[in-house]
Amino acid sequence: MKRFINGIIVPVILLLLWYAVTRMQIFNEYLLPSPGTVWEALTELATSGELAKHLSISLRRVFFGFLLAACTAIPLGIVCGRSRYFYTYCWFLLEFLRHVPPLAAIPLIILWAGIDEASKLTIIFLASFFPLFLNTISGIRNCEPKLIEVGLSLGFSKTQLIRHIQLPAALESIVTGLQLALGYSWRALIGAELIAASAGIGYLILDAEEMSRPDIVLAGMLCIGIIGSLLDWAFLHVLQRLIPWYQK
Protein backbone atom coordinates (compact mmCIF):
# COMPACT_ATOMS: atom_id res chain seq x y z
CA MET A 1 0.00 0.00 0.00
CA LYS A 2 2.83 2.36 0.94
CA ARG A 3 4.53 1.59 -2.36
CA PHE A 4 1.36 2.40 -4.27
CA ILE A 5 0.91 5.72 -2.43
CA ASN A 6 4.55 6.68 -3.07
CA GLY A 7 4.11 5.77 -6.73
CA ILE A 8 1.12 8.04 -7.34
CA ILE A 9 2.61 11.17 -5.72
CA VAL A 10 4.42 12.27 -8.89
CA PRO A 11 1.45 11.62 -11.25
CA VAL A 12 -0.80 13.61 -8.89
CA ILE A 13 1.69 16.50 -8.90
CA LEU A 14 1.81 16.40 -12.70
CA LEU A 15 -1.98 16.36 -12.86
CA LEU A 16 -2.16 19.41 -10.63
CA LEU A 17 0.47 21.16 -12.75
CA TRP A 18 -1.48 20.32 -15.88
CA TYR A 19 -4.66 21.73 -14.29
CA ALA A 20 -2.85 24.89 -13.17
CA VAL A 21 -1.29 25.47 -16.61
CA THR A 22 -4.62 25.11 -18.41
CA ARG A 23 -6.46 27.20 -15.82
CA MET A 24 -3.94 30.03 -16.31
CA GLN A 25 -4.39 29.59 -20.10
CA ILE A 26 -0.65 29.52 -20.73
CA PHE A 27 -1.29 27.35 -23.78
CA ASN A 28 -4.08 27.38 -26.32
CA GLU A 29 -6.90 24.96 -25.39
CA TYR A 30 -6.36 23.26 -28.78
CA LEU A 31 -2.71 22.53 -27.99
CA LEU A 32 -3.31 21.38 -24.43
CA PRO A 33 -6.88 20.59 -23.39
CA SER A 34 -7.64 20.79 -19.69
CA PRO A 35 -7.89 17.64 -17.52
CA GLY A 36 -11.63 18.26 -17.28
CA THR A 37 -12.04 18.30 -21.07
CA VAL A 38 -10.03 15.12 -21.45
CA TRP A 39 -12.08 13.46 -18.70
CA GLU A 40 -15.31 14.44 -20.44
CA ALA A 41 -14.01 12.99 -23.73
CA LEU A 42 -13.03 9.79 -21.95
CA THR A 43 -16.42 9.32 -20.27
CA GLU A 44 -18.19 10.10 -23.56
CA LEU A 45 -16.15 7.38 -25.31
CA ALA A 46 -16.77 4.95 -22.47
CA THR A 47 -20.53 5.50 -22.23
CA SER A 48 -21.03 5.36 -26.00
CA GLY A 49 -19.23 1.99 -26.13
CA GLU A 50 -16.68 3.23 -28.63
CA LEU A 51 -13.76 2.96 -26.24
CA ALA A 52 -14.61 -0.63 -25.35
CA LYS A 53 -15.01 -1.49 -29.04
CA HIS A 54 -11.60 -0.08 -30.04
CA LEU A 55 -9.84 -1.45 -26.97
CA SER A 56 -11.22 -4.94 -27.48
CA ILE A 57 -10.05 -4.92 -31.11
CA SER A 58 -6.56 -3.79 -30.08
CA LEU A 59 -6.35 -6.31 -27.24
CA ARG A 60 -7.47 -9.14 -29.52
CA ARG A 61 -4.71 -8.23 -31.99
CA VAL A 62 -2.12 -8.19 -29.22
CA PHE A 63 -3.35 -11.50 -27.85
CA PHE A 64 -3.16 -13.38 -31.14
CA GLY A 65 0.09 -11.78 -32.31
CA PHE A 66 1.73 -12.39 -28.96
CA LEU A 67 0.43 -15.97 -28.79
CA LEU A 68 1.75 -16.72 -32.26
CA ALA A 69 5.13 -15.28 -31.31
CA ALA A 70 5.23 -17.30 -28.08
CA CYS A 71 4.29 -20.55 -29.85
CA THR A 72 7.12 -20.14 -32.36
CA ALA A 73 9.83 -18.29 -30.45
CA ILE A 74 9.94 -20.56 -27.39
CA PRO A 75 10.26 -23.96 -29.13
CA LEU A 76 12.63 -22.51 -31.73
CA GLY A 77 14.64 -20.85 -28.98
CA ILE A 78 14.96 -24.17 -27.13
CA VAL A 79 16.16 -25.98 -30.25
CA CYS A 80 18.62 -23.21 -31.19
CA GLY A 81 19.81 -22.82 -27.59
CA ARG A 82 20.73 -26.51 -27.54
CA SER A 83 22.48 -26.35 -30.90
CA ARG A 84 26.24 -26.01 -30.86
CA TYR A 85 26.32 -24.57 -34.37
CA PHE A 86 23.45 -22.13 -34.21
CA TYR A 87 25.37 -19.14 -32.94
CA THR A 88 28.35 -19.86 -35.16
CA TYR A 89 26.28 -19.53 -38.30
CA CYS A 90 23.41 -17.27 -37.32
CA TRP A 91 24.68 -14.59 -34.94
CA PHE A 92 25.25 -11.95 -37.62
CA LEU A 93 21.81 -12.43 -39.18
CA LEU A 94 20.20 -12.32 -35.74
CA GLU A 95 21.97 -9.11 -34.75
CA PHE A 96 20.97 -7.52 -38.06
CA LEU A 97 17.30 -8.49 -37.72
CA ARG A 98 17.20 -7.50 -34.06
CA HIS A 99 18.10 -3.91 -34.92
CA VAL A 100 15.49 -3.46 -37.65
CA PRO A 101 12.34 -2.13 -35.92
CA PRO A 102 9.13 -3.78 -37.16
CA LEU A 103 7.63 -0.34 -37.85
CA ALA A 104 10.35 0.23 -40.46
CA ALA A 105 9.09 -2.85 -42.26
CA ILE A 106 5.46 -1.66 -42.37
CA PRO A 107 5.47 -0.54 -46.03
CA LEU A 108 6.81 -3.93 -47.07
CA ILE A 109 4.41 -5.79 -44.77
CA ILE A 110 1.46 -3.85 -46.18
CA LEU A 111 2.65 -4.70 -49.69
CA TRP A 112 2.89 -8.39 -48.89
CA ALA A 113 0.05 -8.83 -46.40
CA GLY A 114 -2.39 -6.06 -47.28
CA ILE A 115 -3.98 -3.62 -44.86
CA ASP A 116 -6.19 -6.08 -43.03
CA GLU A 117 -5.52 -8.02 -39.85
CA ALA A 118 -2.65 -10.06 -41.34
CA SER A 119 -0.34 -7.04 -41.55
CA LYS A 120 -1.06 -5.96 -37.97
CA LEU A 121 -0.55 -9.46 -36.64
CA THR A 122 2.71 -9.67 -38.59
CA ILE A 123 3.96 -6.43 -37.03
CA ILE A 124 3.06 -7.60 -33.51
CA PHE A 125 4.62 -10.97 -34.22
CA LEU A 126 7.89 -9.40 -35.42
CA ALA A 127 8.01 -7.03 -32.44
CA SER A 128 7.48 -9.77 -29.86
CA PHE A 129 9.32 -12.67 -31.52
CA PHE A 130 12.94 -11.55 -31.09
CA PRO A 131 13.05 -10.61 -27.38
CA LEU A 132 11.35 -13.90 -26.55
CA PHE A 133 13.48 -15.96 -28.94
CA LEU A 134 16.75 -14.49 -27.70
CA ASN A 135 15.76 -14.74 -24.04
CA THR A 136 14.83 -18.39 -24.51
CA ILE A 137 18.19 -19.13 -26.15
CA SER A 138 19.96 -17.29 -23.36
CA GLY A 139 18.04 -19.21 -20.70
CA ILE A 140 18.92 -22.57 -22.27
CA ARG A 141 22.57 -21.73 -22.93
CA ASN A 142 23.16 -20.17 -19.53
CA CYS A 143 21.83 -23.11 -17.58
CA GLU A 144 24.35 -23.59 -14.77
CA PRO A 145 26.68 -26.46 -15.84
CA LYS A 146 26.92 -27.53 -12.19
CA LEU A 147 23.20 -28.33 -12.20
CA ILE A 148 23.65 -30.40 -15.38
CA GLU A 149 26.40 -32.32 -13.56
CA VAL A 150 23.95 -33.12 -10.77
CA GLY A 151 21.62 -34.65 -13.35
CA LEU A 152 24.46 -36.59 -14.98
CA SER A 153 25.61 -37.91 -11.62
CA LEU A 154 22.06 -39.12 -10.89
CA GLY A 155 21.94 -41.02 -14.18
CA PHE A 156 19.68 -38.65 -16.15
CA SER A 157 19.41 -39.21 -19.91
CA LYS A 158 19.79 -36.31 -22.36
CA THR A 159 16.01 -35.88 -22.61
CA GLN A 160 15.67 -35.93 -18.84
CA LEU A 161 18.40 -33.31 -18.52
CA ILE A 162 16.51 -31.01 -20.90
CA ARG A 163 13.12 -31.66 -19.35
CA HIS A 164 14.02 -31.59 -15.66
CA ILE A 165 16.97 -29.20 -15.54
CA GLN A 166 17.51 -27.03 -18.61
CA LEU A 167 13.89 -26.08 -19.21
CA PRO A 168 13.03 -25.21 -15.61
CA ALA A 169 16.35 -23.34 -15.30
CA ALA A 170 15.49 -21.37 -18.45
CA LEU A 171 12.00 -20.52 -17.21
CA GLU A 172 13.00 -17.26 -15.51
CA SER A 173 14.68 -16.02 -18.68
CA ILE A 174 11.73 -17.15 -20.82
CA VAL A 175 9.25 -15.38 -18.55
CA THR A 176 11.34 -12.19 -18.70
CA GLY A 177 11.27 -12.54 -22.48
CA LEU A 178 7.48 -12.92 -22.38
CA GLN A 179 7.16 -9.79 -20.28
CA LEU A 180 9.36 -7.81 -22.68
CA ALA A 181 7.55 -9.23 -25.69
CA LEU A 182 4.18 -8.21 -24.26
CA GLY A 183 5.34 -4.61 -23.85
CA TYR A 184 6.84 -4.51 -27.34
CA SER A 185 3.76 -6.02 -28.93
CA TRP A 186 1.50 -3.42 -27.30
CA ARG A 187 3.73 -0.58 -28.51
CA ALA A 188 4.09 -2.06 -32.00
CA LEU A 189 0.32 -2.52 -32.25
CA ILE A 190 -0.34 1.16 -31.60
CA GLY A 191 2.22 2.07 -34.26
CA ALA A 192 0.64 -0.31 -36.75
CA GLU A 193 -2.85 1.02 -36.05
CA LEU A 194 -1.69 4.60 -36.49
CA ILE A 195 -0.60 3.81 -40.00
CA ALA A 196 -2.99 1.26 -41.42
CA ALA A 197 -6.18 0.48 -39.53
CA SER A 198 -9.90 1.17 -39.44
CA ALA A 199 -10.41 0.23 -35.79
CA GLY A 200 -8.42 -0.03 -32.61
CA ILE A 201 -7.09 2.42 -30.08
CA GLY A 202 -4.32 3.61 -32.42
CA TYR A 203 -6.89 4.30 -35.10
CA LEU A 204 -9.03 6.14 -32.53
CA ILE A 205 -6.12 8.53 -31.82
CA LEU A 206 -5.38 9.10 -35.53
CA ASP A 207 -9.06 9.70 -36.29
CA ALA A 208 -9.27 12.18 -33.39
CA GLU A 209 -6.23 14.03 -34.74
CA GLU A 210 -7.86 14.35 -38.16
CA MET A 211 -11.09 15.55 -36.51
CA SER A 212 -9.11 18.15 -34.48
CA ARG A 213 -10.05 16.54 -31.18
CA PRO A 214 -6.84 16.73 -29.07
CA ASP A 215 -8.93 15.86 -26.00
CA ILE A 216 -9.71 12.44 -27.53
CA VAL A 217 -6.03 12.08 -28.55
CA LEU A 218 -5.00 12.61 -24.93
CA ALA A 219 -7.78 10.34 -23.68
CA GLY A 220 -6.54 7.64 -26.06
CA MET A 221 -2.94 8.07 -24.90
CA LEU A 222 -4.04 7.78 -21.26
CA CYS A 223 -5.86 4.55 -22.10
CA ILE A 224 -2.78 3.16 -23.85
CA GLY A 225 -0.60 3.90 -20.83
CA ILE A 226 -3.11 2.54 -18.32
CA ILE A 227 -3.90 -0.63 -20.30
CA GLY A 228 -0.21 -1.26 -20.95
CA SER A 229 0.56 -0.92 -17.24
CA LEU A 230 -2.37 -3.17 -16.29
CA LEU A 231 -1.21 -5.82 -18.76
CA ASP A 232 2.26 -5.73 -17.22
CA TRP A 233 0.87 -5.85 -13.67
CA ALA A 234 -1.42 -8.77 -14.53
CA PHE A 235 1.48 -10.57 -16.17
CA LEU A 236 3.66 -10.10 -13.07
CA HIS A 237 0.95 -11.74 -10.99
CA VAL A 238 0.82 -14.69 -13.36
CA LEU A 239 4.61 -14.78 -13.24
CA GLN A 240 4.58 -15.01 -9.45
CA ARG A 241 2.37 -18.07 -9.71
CA LEU A 242 4.46 -19.70 -12.46
CA ILE A 243 7.78 -19.19 -10.73
CA PRO A 244 6.99 -18.85 -6.99
CA TRP A 245 10.65 -19.50 -6.11
CA TYR A 246 11.75 -16.35 -7.97
CA GLN A 247 10.85 -13.96 -5.15
CA LYS A 248 12.17 -16.37 -2.53
Binding site: K146, V150, S153, H164, I165, I243, P244, W245
Partner: protein
Protein backbone atom coordinates in the same frame (compact mmCIF):
# COMPACT_ATOMS: atom_id res chain seq x y z
CA UNK B 1 32.71 -60.48 -2.07
CA UNK B 2 35.74 -59.76 -4.30
CA UNK B 3 33.46 -58.23 -6.95
CA UNK B 4 32.36 -55.59 -4.45
CA UNK B 5 35.87 -54.16 -4.22
CA UNK B 6 36.55 -51.02 -6.21
CA UNK B 7 39.85 -51.33 -8.08
CA UNK B 8 41.71 -48.47 -9.69
CA UNK B 9 44.51 -49.61 -12.01
CA UNK B 10 46.74 -47.27 -14.03
CA UNK B 11 44.23 -44.48 -13.63
CA UNK B 12 45.48 -41.34 -15.36
CA UNK B 13 44.10 -37.94 -16.14
CA UNK B 14 46.08 -35.07 -17.62
CA UNK B 15 45.09 -31.56 -18.57
CA UNK B 16 47.56 -30.37 -21.17
CA UNK B 17 51.00 -30.83 -19.62
CA UNK B 18 49.72 -31.21 -16.08
CA UNK B 19 49.08 -34.65 -14.65
CA UNK B 20 46.06 -34.33 -12.40
CA UNK B 21 45.74 -37.99 -11.44
CA UNK B 22 48.23 -40.82 -11.76
CA UNK B 23 47.32 -43.84 -9.66
CA UNK B 24 49.00 -47.17 -10.54
CA UNK B 25 46.88 -49.20 -8.16
CA UNK B 26 44.28 -48.56 -5.46
CA UNK B 27 41.66 -50.69 -3.78
CA UNK B 28 38.57 -49.43 -1.94
CA UNK B 29 36.67 -52.02 0.09
CA UNK B 30 32.91 -51.83 0.40
CA UNK B 31 31.26 -50.28 3.46
CA UNK B 32 34.40 -48.34 4.40
CA UNK B 33 34.87 -44.64 5.05
CA UNK B 34 37.99 -43.49 3.20
CA UNK B 35 39.21 -39.94 3.46
CA UNK B 36 41.48 -38.34 0.89
CA UNK B 37 43.62 -35.40 2.01
CA UNK B 38 46.13 -33.27 0.18
CA UNK B 39 47.06 -29.74 -0.78
CA UNK B 40 44.99 -27.78 -3.29
CA UNK B 41 45.64 -28.96 -6.82
CA UNK B 42 46.87 -32.42 -5.82
CA UNK B 43 44.10 -34.19 -7.77
CA UNK B 44 41.58 -35.11 -5.05
CA UNK B 45 38.60 -33.56 -6.79
CA UNK B 46 39.67 -34.90 -10.19
CA UNK B 47 39.86 -38.41 -8.74
CA UNK B 48 36.31 -38.09 -7.41
CA UNK B 49 35.05 -36.69 -10.72
CA UNK B 50 36.62 -39.64 -12.55
CA UNK B 51 34.80 -42.05 -10.26
CA UNK B 52 31.54 -40.10 -10.64
CA UNK B 53 31.81 -40.35 -14.43
CA UNK B 54 32.05 -36.58 -14.84
CA UNK B 55 35.55 -36.86 -16.32
CA UNK B 56 37.00 -39.49 -18.66
CA UNK B 57 40.34 -41.13 -17.82
CA UNK B 58 43.16 -40.87 -20.35
CA UNK B 59 44.12 -44.52 -20.29
CA UNK B 60 42.51 -46.78 -22.87
CA UNK B 61 42.43 -49.91 -20.75
CA UNK B 62 39.74 -50.36 -18.17
CA UNK B 63 41.25 -48.44 -15.28
CA UNK B 64 38.26 -48.50 -12.96
CA UNK B 65 36.66 -51.86 -12.13
CA UNK B 66 34.17 -52.86 -9.50
CA UNK B 67 32.48 -49.46 -9.59
CA UNK B 68 29.03 -49.91 -8.08
CA UNK B 69 26.04 -49.48 -10.39
CA UNK B 70 24.90 -46.54 -8.34
CA UNK B 71 27.50 -43.96 -7.45
CA UNK B 72 26.66 -40.39 -6.54
CA UNK B 73 28.60 -37.33 -5.43
CA UNK B 74 27.93 -34.71 -2.80
CA UNK B 75 29.55 -31.55 -4.10
CA UNK B 76 31.25 -28.74 -2.27
CA UNK B 77 28.35 -26.43 -3.14
CA UNK B 78 24.81 -27.70 -2.51
CA UNK B 79 23.80 -27.34 -6.21
CA UNK B 80 20.12 -27.41 -5.41
CA UNK B 81 17.48 -26.83 -8.08
CA UNK B 82 16.11 -23.34 -7.29
CA UNK B 83 12.66 -24.17 -8.63
CA UNK B 84 12.12 -27.11 -6.28
CA UNK B 85 11.36 -27.11 -2.58
CA UNK B 86 13.53 -28.96 -0.07
CA UNK B 87 11.32 -32.05 -0.48
CA UNK B 88 11.40 -31.71 -4.27
CA UNK B 89 15.17 -31.46 -4.26
CA UNK B 90 15.58 -34.52 -2.07
CA UNK B 91 13.31 -36.55 -4.35
CA UNK B 92 14.93 -35.14 -7.50
CA UNK B 93 16.58 -38.40 -8.52
CA UNK B 94 13.10 -39.91 -9.00
CA UNK B 95 12.80 -37.93 -12.24
CA UNK B 96 15.57 -40.05 -13.74
CA UNK B 97 14.11 -43.35 -12.57
CA UNK B 98 10.98 -45.40 -13.12
CA UNK B 99 9.56 -44.83 -9.67
CA UNK B 100 10.76 -46.06 -6.29
CA UNK B 101 8.76 -48.05 -3.76
CA UNK B 102 7.59 -46.02 -0.77
CA UNK B 103 9.36 -42.92 -2.09
CA UNK B 104 7.31 -40.43 -0.04
CA UNK B 105 7.87 -42.39 3.15
CA UNK B 106 11.60 -42.65 2.44
CA UNK B 107 11.80 -38.92 1.80
CA UNK B 108 10.08 -38.02 5.07
CA UNK B 109 12.36 -40.45 6.92
CA UNK B 110 15.40 -38.70 5.45
CA UNK B 111 13.96 -35.27 6.24
CA UNK B 112 13.59 -36.40 9.84
CA UNK B 113 17.15 -37.81 10.02
CA UNK B 114 18.56 -34.63 8.52
CA UNK B 115 16.43 -32.42 10.81
CA UNK B 116 14.73 -30.78 7.81
CA UNK B 117 11.09 -31.70 8.46
CA UNK B 118 10.07 -28.12 9.21
CA UNK B 119 11.85 -26.88 6.10
CA UNK B 120 10.28 -29.34 3.64
CA UNK B 121 8.27 -26.67 1.86
CA UNK B 122 11.00 -24.03 1.64
CA UNK B 123 12.92 -23.07 -1.49
CA UNK B 124 16.75 -23.10 -1.67
CA UNK B 125 16.94 -19.31 -1.57
CA UNK B 126 15.31 -19.44 1.87
CA UNK B 127 17.84 -21.88 3.36
CA UNK B 128 21.01 -21.30 5.32
CA UNK B 129 24.29 -22.80 4.04
CA UNK B 130 24.13 -25.68 6.50
CA UNK B 131 20.54 -26.49 5.64
CA UNK B 132 21.27 -26.39 1.92
CA UNK B 133 24.17 -28.78 2.33
CA UNK B 134 21.97 -31.14 4.34
CA UNK B 135 19.44 -31.11 1.51
CA UNK B 136 22.24 -31.91 -0.93
CA UNK B 137 23.26 -34.85 1.27
CA UNK B 138 19.61 -35.92 1.50
CA UNK B 139 19.29 -35.85 -2.28
CA UNK B 140 22.24 -38.20 -2.63
CA UNK B 141 21.01 -40.52 0.12
CA UNK B 142 17.53 -40.67 -1.41
CA UNK B 143 19.13 -41.89 -4.64
CA UNK B 144 20.50 -44.73 -2.47
CA UNK B 145 23.90 -45.17 -4.12
CA UNK B 146 26.30 -47.87 -2.95
CA UNK B 147 29.24 -45.48 -3.24
CA UNK B 148 29.03 -41.87 -2.07
CA UNK B 149 31.72 -39.44 -3.24
CA UNK B 150 31.92 -36.40 -1.00
CA UNK B 151 34.03 -33.51 -2.26
CA UNK B 152 34.80 -31.16 0.64
CA UNK B 153 31.09 -30.94 1.41
CA UNK B 154 31.48 -28.97 4.64
CA UNK B 155 34.39 -26.66 3.77
CA UNK B 156 32.19 -23.60 3.29
CA UNK B 157 30.42 -23.97 6.64
CA UNK B 158 31.18 -22.60 10.08
CA UNK B 159 32.77 -24.87 12.73
CA UNK B 160 29.59 -25.74 14.64
CA UNK B 161 27.52 -26.52 11.54
CA UNK B 162 30.45 -28.57 10.21
CA UNK B 163 30.70 -30.63 13.41
CA UNK B 164 26.95 -31.19 13.39
CA UNK B 165 27.01 -32.43 9.81
CA UNK B 166 30.10 -34.60 10.40
CA UNK B 167 28.24 -36.38 13.19
CA UNK B 168 25.21 -36.72 10.95
CA UNK B 169 27.30 -38.29 8.17
CA UNK B 170 28.90 -40.75 10.60
CA UNK B 171 25.50 -41.71 11.97
CA UNK B 172 24.12 -42.22 8.46
CA UNK B 173 27.24 -44.17 7.43
CA UNK B 174 26.83 -46.62 10.30
CA UNK B 175 23.07 -46.85 9.85
CA UNK B 176 23.01 -47.28 6.05
CA UNK B 177 26.33 -49.13 5.55
CA UNK B 178 27.47 -47.22 2.47
CA UNK B 179 30.94 -46.92 1.00
CA UNK B 180 32.14 -43.35 1.36
CA UNK B 181 35.06 -41.56 -0.28
CA UNK B 182 35.45 -38.22 1.47
CA UNK B 183 37.76 -35.54 0.13
CA UNK B 184 38.89 -32.85 2.53
CA UNK B 185 41.80 -30.48 3.02
CA UNK B 186 41.16 -30.61 6.78
CA UNK B 187 43.30 -33.41 8.23
CA UNK B 188 41.50 -33.25 11.58
CA UNK B 189 38.15 -33.75 9.83
CA UNK B 190 39.59 -36.76 7.99
CA UNK B 191 40.77 -38.29 11.26
CA UNK B 192 37.43 -37.69 12.97
CA UNK B 193 35.53 -39.47 10.21
CA UNK B 194 37.61 -42.00 8.29
CA UNK B 195 38.69 -45.62 8.74
CA UNK B 196 41.50 -44.92 6.32
CA UNK B 197 43.31 -41.87 5.04
CA UNK B 198 44.88 -41.56 1.60
CA UNK B 199 47.40 -38.75 1.33
CA UNK B 200 47.58 -37.42 -2.23
CA UNK B 201 50.36 -35.43 -3.79
CA UNK B 202 50.82 -34.45 -7.44
CA UNK B 203 48.05 -36.79 -8.53
CA UNK B 204 49.43 -39.89 -6.78
CA UNK B 205 48.80 -41.63 -3.48
CA UNK B 206 51.74 -40.73 -1.27
CA UNK B 207 50.58 -42.60 1.83
CA UNK B 208 47.82 -45.01 2.80
CA UNK B 209 47.13 -44.76 6.54
CA UNK B 210 44.61 -46.88 8.46
CA UNK B 211 42.97 -45.05 11.38
CA UNK B 212 42.77 -47.42 14.32
CA UNK B 213 41.25 -44.96 16.82
CA UNK B 214 37.89 -46.17 18.13
CA UNK B 215 34.68 -44.12 18.06
CA UNK B 216 33.60 -41.72 19.39
CA UNK B 217 36.69 -39.69 18.45
CA UNK B 218 37.48 -36.31 19.89
CA UNK B 219 39.68 -33.69 18.26
CA UNK B 220 41.63 -33.29 21.52
CA UNK B 221 42.55 -37.02 21.71
CA UNK B 222 46.33 -37.48 21.99
CA UNK B 223 46.40 -40.33 19.48
CA UNK B 224 44.38 -38.28 16.99
CA UNK B 225 46.59 -35.25 17.38
CA UNK B 226 49.70 -37.39 16.94
CA UNK B 227 48.34 -38.82 13.69
CA UNK B 228 47.34 -35.38 12.57
CA UNK B 229 50.86 -34.07 13.04
CA UNK B 230 52.46 -36.96 11.19
CA UNK B 231 50.09 -36.46 8.22
CA UNK B 232 50.80 -32.72 8.20
CA UNK B 233 54.51 -33.53 8.20
CA UNK B 234 53.93 -35.78 5.20
CA UNK B 235 52.11 -33.02 3.38
CA UNK B 236 54.64 -30.33 4.18
Amino acid sequence: METDILFLQNLKKTYGNKTAVNIPSLEIRPRTFTCIVGKSGCGKTTLLRLLAGLETPDTNTKSITGLPAKTAPVFQEPRLMPWLTVKGNIMFSLKGQNGMPAAEERCWQLLKELELTEAAGLYPAQLSGGMAQRVSLGRTLFYDPELILMDEPFSALDYFTRRNLQEMVLRLFRHQQKTILFVTHDVEEALLLGDRILVMENGSIKADIPVMISFPRKAADTALQKMRQSILDLLA
